[in-house]
Amino acid sequence: MPAKILVVDDDGAIRRLLRNTLVHAGYAVAEAWDGKSAISGAAAERPDAVLLDLGLPDRDGLSLIPLLRGQGEAVILVVSAREAVEEKVAALDLGADDFVTKPFDTEELLARLRVALRHRSASDPAPRTIRRGELSIDTEQRRVTRGGEELHLTRKEHEVLGVLARHIGRVVTHERLLTACWAADEDPRIEYLRIVIRNLRQKLEAPGPVGSVIANELGVGYRLRAEG
């Protein structure tokens, strides 16, 4: 049975575009155009994922996130033109799984949706081993190899990479990374995280500016890219 996606957006053209894209990608689609219809739609349709616009006519989309969370297991993907960092962090903190900024690339949207849905099903946890070209990351064994050769990572680098790998494809906020990898008495500071990420990049990647394995979501957090 195809996964069901609830598209919440007040703009008819965007809903139509998303419906076409999603149906074409093999999903079943339901639509809602405001907060009220989103809540009733989520109750009636039991969707597997909600694509949520934040600028709705009757209420702020942010306030819908906890309500939707409370209604079921649906993955929540925020799709919004709002760029403010605070809003993105707030959406993630309230329980959204990821966000995509309008105007979006449909391929990227579908990729994020796939990742989110995969995480949702308990039967399919994050893969133990992540392969990316020559790179292989075994989060459980804490073994990272490139071209068969083991890379030496520090404890912190392993921890940060582990958290990112467990959420592969999804953004992890700075806050969450710092709480997960630094003890409270270690003075968790974003400066440390920056340095750890830089060191990780230098170890994991071939030199070159484009196509980093670890993507930086400005002001929000980091994401381990799901696919090349």
């Binding site: 760029e83 960092v85 105007p103 520090t154 404890r155 912190k156 630094w182 270690e186 003075d187 968790p188 500071r189 974003i190 400066e191 440390y192 920056r194 340095i195 750890v196 990420i197 830089r198 990049r201 230098q202 030199p207 070159g208 500016p209 484009v210 196509g211 980093s212 993507a215 930086n216 400005l218 002001g219």
Partner: protein, 889 residues
């Protein structure tokens, strides 16, 4: 209006913009016969043809055929007949017009005085009522009827009209000047086409001379131009002497207690209007002012009131002499123009004291002095002031008694060598001492005591109080006379000395206060200085309150941080703010408050409220300090008003700047947004007939370009609106560059991008999004202007403690010597022969964002040429150093 008060110009202006109020248009003419009425009727007729409901309220045709023809086309409201002293006068029927309620009513001769017994004494008051009822009014007026020009017209036409229209009425109206050349008017006059009122007929030849008509015409045109300017400048109009424009003129008119001062004030208004500067009516309070009669006091007050009505600030400054007072005020107020009346003091007075005018002209070189003749009116002689009798102190009587006793002892000792007359002379001593030190009563007492003692001890028969020789009676009277004369003289001298000393003190205090505060350009600092100075000068607790949210006054500054205001105090402060009159202890209102609140007023608005309270319990301010307090309050108000106007000017400038930028933005952007849209629409239309990958590519890349423009526009709008909020955090530059290069990958297509950032570069503090947009725009720019296929280098490194991140391209580079200009908004430097798309916003955004974060930007050609280098420079303060290593293990 029914009570005959003058309309307040501000109120009129405000009211005029209110919905539902009628509008007034005035046809202003230089002289009778220029065709105002004709013009008004013609325009009324035009409006009627447009379908407007027009009626004639009152029009004098004076039997002129063309005018009558025009009137006949209109609906006319019948006039009301009024019987007055056996004559029948025909006045406009105000009630009939109101009942008829047309859209527009034509009312001739605005300055007309209604027949006694009418509802309003003046026709302009009838018009005011029509306007209030929402009816538009057209009216006519000749320039000599304008109140502030009344004197000037009379001065050269020698005809004074009694019917005047307040300037405020004109200021609230739209003005159309009805203008014909003087020669033509004289022709019309000769042809008998001009109706003249009786008083003009008498002086006909003089009034209608060419020179007069030219002067009147100029006055009319200037007045109309001022009306337009006044409305344009309304917001930035300076109300006070503080002035707002650094180079502007500030006019001061010095008035005195003599009749004719009102003429000076009117003249000063004309000077001020002509120069478009703020003006102040100044009265110098010399010790002489203490001897003014009630009438003279009233005249000064009336002149000051007139000045206020004409828009002036007023100031009363105590000073030992008029010249000193005027000079110090001119300096403090930084005045540029002084208006004075020609002295009417006697030759004798001028010989003794020197001419005030001469001395002012000589000693104030920076100020233009206007000296105006004032018509001679016989001033009633001031009455000599009567001083309250005082009995003197008991100590004075004691000392006097001792002195008399001492003189008696000395005289007894010397009696054998002195004759009787010389003994009497000795008694002059205690009398003069007592009279000069202790006043009249004590002096008289000394005289009486001396004469009695002299009589008893020395005048034969010695030992009795009887006088045998009538010659000696004279001695007794001389002693008493000396007592009276001496005490009077010294009393006067002392009173004058006291007054002069007090005035000098007050004057020095005020001058110091003014000098200090004139240099302040920050409202908070000014508020603090006002509080501190008032506290220092009066020895009281001071608090300055301004309008706040929800009706509660907000504290601007306080002399004592531990001050406390309770509900009653707030009520009094609020009262003072709302009503513009003093409240609290020592005033007449809300006296339960411990504080005395004085409003700081400019024009009819209250800017703030100054509260004073005694540091111990008791009256906040001693009665003799009240004048000083009110002067300080006046000056403080002027300062606050100046600052407020300055702030308004700055805001206005910023708005103007923003508007200009917005206009440039719109013109630039409409082109740049439409071009890709056109491509997208065309390609999409083609898609209906079968898609080709090339067309889809076009849509994608053009849409991406649009998106880039839009985000740049949003960024610029944020910069313009001052809405940039920084969220600074530690950033790894290689991380930032990688992210930006990823997002700019489309623009960088076809270029080799090389990242040359040392791995151990320290972190920097910046806003990640702003930095990202900076880098995006720099990379975009490099992609646009770099030769296709060339290399783009991103280079990071240290220099002199700064951290530098440069984006280098290979291309034609920047025009030498004009490198920095690329950061200007909408600047696309010539020098590239390629047609390059871009709004010219990108680099302006780079600069704005970088500067917001505390970075600087540099644009230069690459060393050795062949491309441009744009560098972001992080100052040492933004570099993160000495990160503890244990957090990384």
């Amino acid at each position: 209006m029914a009570d005959g008060q003058r309309p307040d110009p501000d109120a009129l202006l405000r009211a005029a913009v209110q919905e539902g109020r009628g509008r007034l248009k005035i046809f202003l003419g230089a002289a009778p016969g220029v065709g105002k009425t004709y013009e008004m009727l013609a325009e009324g007729a035009a409006r009627r043809r447009d379908g407007v409901d027009v009626v004639v309220g009152v029009v004098e045709t004076h039997g002129r055929a063309e005018t009558e023809a025009l009137v006949r086309g209109h609906e006319i409201i019948a006039r009301r007949a009024v019987r007055y002293e056996g004559r029948t006068l025909h006045e406009m029927d105000l009630d009939a017009v109101l009942a008829r309620a047309p859209r527009l009513v034509l009312v001739d001769e605005l300055a007309h005085t209604n027949a006694p017994g009418s509802r309003h004494p003046k026709r302009f008051q009838d018009v005011e009522e029509l306007l209030a009822a929402g009816i538009d009014v057209y009216s006519t007026v000749n320039i000599q009827h304008v109140e502030s020009l009344n004197d000037v017209v009379a001065s050269f036409t020698r005809i004074r009209v009694r019917e005047t229209v307040p300037d405020a009425v004109l200021e609230a109206a739209e003005i159309e000047v009805v203008d014909i050349p003087p020669d033509e008017l004289i022709e019309r006059l000769k042809a008998g086409k001009v109706y003249l009122p009786d008083e003009a007929t008498r002086a006909l030849g003089h009034f209608f001379s060419r020179s007069n008509l030219s002067a009147l015409r100029e006055l009319a045109l200037r007045r109309a131009a001022q009306a337009v300017d006044a409305r344009m400048l309304e917001d930035v109009r300076a109300l006070g002497l503080g002035g707002t424009w650094a180079g502007g003129d500030r006019i001061v008119v010095a008035i005195n207690e003599l009749p004719g001062a009102d003429i000076l004030v009117r003249a000063a208004k004309r000077v001020a209007d002509g120069l478009r500067g703020p003006w102040t009516a100044l009265f110098i309070e010399t010790p002489r002012a203490a001897h003014f009669t009630d009438e003279q006091h009233a005249r000064v007050a009336a002149t000051m009131t007139l000045a206020t009505q004409l828009g002036a600030a007023v100031a009363t400054v105590p000073a030992p002499t008029v010249v000193e007072g005027i000079q110090s005020f001119l300096a403090d107020a930084r005045a540029t123009q002084l208006v004075l009346g020609k002295s009417r003091r006697s030759r004798w007075f001028e010989l003794r004291h020197g001419s005030i005018v001469d001395r002012l002209v000589r000693d104030t070189p920076d100020v233009t002095v206007h000296v105006l003749p004032v018509p001679a009116v016989k001033a009633p002689r001031g009455q000599a002031p009567r001083r309250p009798a005082r009995w003197g102190s008991p100590a004075g009587y004691g000392v006097t008694t001792l002195l008399v006793a001492a003189v008696t002892a000395i005289a007894s000792a010397l009696f054998h060598i002195l004759d009787l007359g010389n003994v009497a002379l000795l008694y002059l001593l205690p009398v003069m001492v007592a009279a000069s030190l202790f006043g009249l009563r004590t002096g008289l007492f000394a005289g009486l005591a001396s004469s009695l003692v002299y009589n008893f001890f020395f005048l034969p028969p010695v030992g009795t109080l009887s006088v045998s020789n009538p010659e000696n009676v004279v001695s007794i009277f001389v002693l008493l006379g000396v007592a009276i004369a001496t005490s009077q003289l010294t009393a006067r001298v002392r009173a004058q000395a006291d007054l002069a000393a007090a005035s000098a003190r007050t004057n020095a205090t005020l001058a110091g206060f003014l000098r200090q505060i004139a240099g302040v350009n920050d409202a908070d600092a000014a508020a603090r200085m006002i509080c501190d100075d008032v506290r220092r000068l009066l020895g009281v607790q001071v608090v300055l309150l301004g309008a706040g949210e929800g009706g509660v006054m907000r504290t601007l500054a306080a002399s004592d941080p531990a001050y406390r205001l309770d509900t009653m105090d707030h009520a009094a402060a609020g009262w003072a703010f709302d009503t513009g009159s003093a409240a609290g202890k020592g005033s007449g209102t809300l006296t339960a408050s411990e504080w005395l609140f004085q409003p700081l007023r400019a024009g009819d608005r209250v800017l703030a409220v100054l509260g004073v309270a005694s540091e111990a319990a008791g009256q906040p301010v001693r009665a003799d300090q009240l004048p000083l307090l009110s002067s300080l309050v006046d000056q403080a108000a002027l300062v606050l008003e100046r600052l407020r106007l300055q702030a308004e000017m700055r805001d206005l400038d910023a708005v103007r700047m923003r508007d200009r930028l917005r206009a440039a933005l719109l013109s630039s952007v409409s082109h740049d947004l439409r071009t890709p849209l056109t491509a997208v629409i065309a390609a999409a239309a083609q898609l209906r007939h079968g898609a080709t990958p090339a067309l889809i590519g076009t849509i994608e890349s053009e849409a991406a370009r649009l998106n880039r423009f839009v985000s740049n526009l949003l960024d610029m709008a944020r910069v313009e609106a001052g809405a940039l909020r920084l969220r600074t955090e530690a950033i790894d530059l290689s991380d930032a560059v990688t992210g930006a290069a990823h997002d700019a990958r489309r623009a960088l297509e076809g270029h080799d991008v090389r990242l040359d950032v040392p791995p151990d570069l320290p972190l920097v503090r910046a806003d990640p999004q702003l930095l990202h947009h900076c880098l995006l725009n720099l990379l975009d720019n490099a992609g646009l202007y770099g030769e296709p296929g060339s290399e783009i280098v991103i280079e990071g490194g240290h220099r002199y403690g700064e951290l530098r991140l440069a984006v280098l391209d290979r291309g034609s580079g920047l025009p030498p010597g004009r490198e920095a200009e690329v950061f200007e908004t909408f600047r696309r430097l010539q020098g590239s022969d390629r047609a390059v798309g871009g709004t010219g916003l990108g680099l302006a955004i780079v600069k704005a964002f970088a500067e917001a974060m505390g970075l600087s930007v540099e644009a230069a050609n690459r060393a050795g040429g062949g491309g441009a280098a744009f560098t972001l420079v992080f100052p040492p303060a933004l570099i993160v150093r000495d990160l503890p290593a244990e957090g990384l293990s």
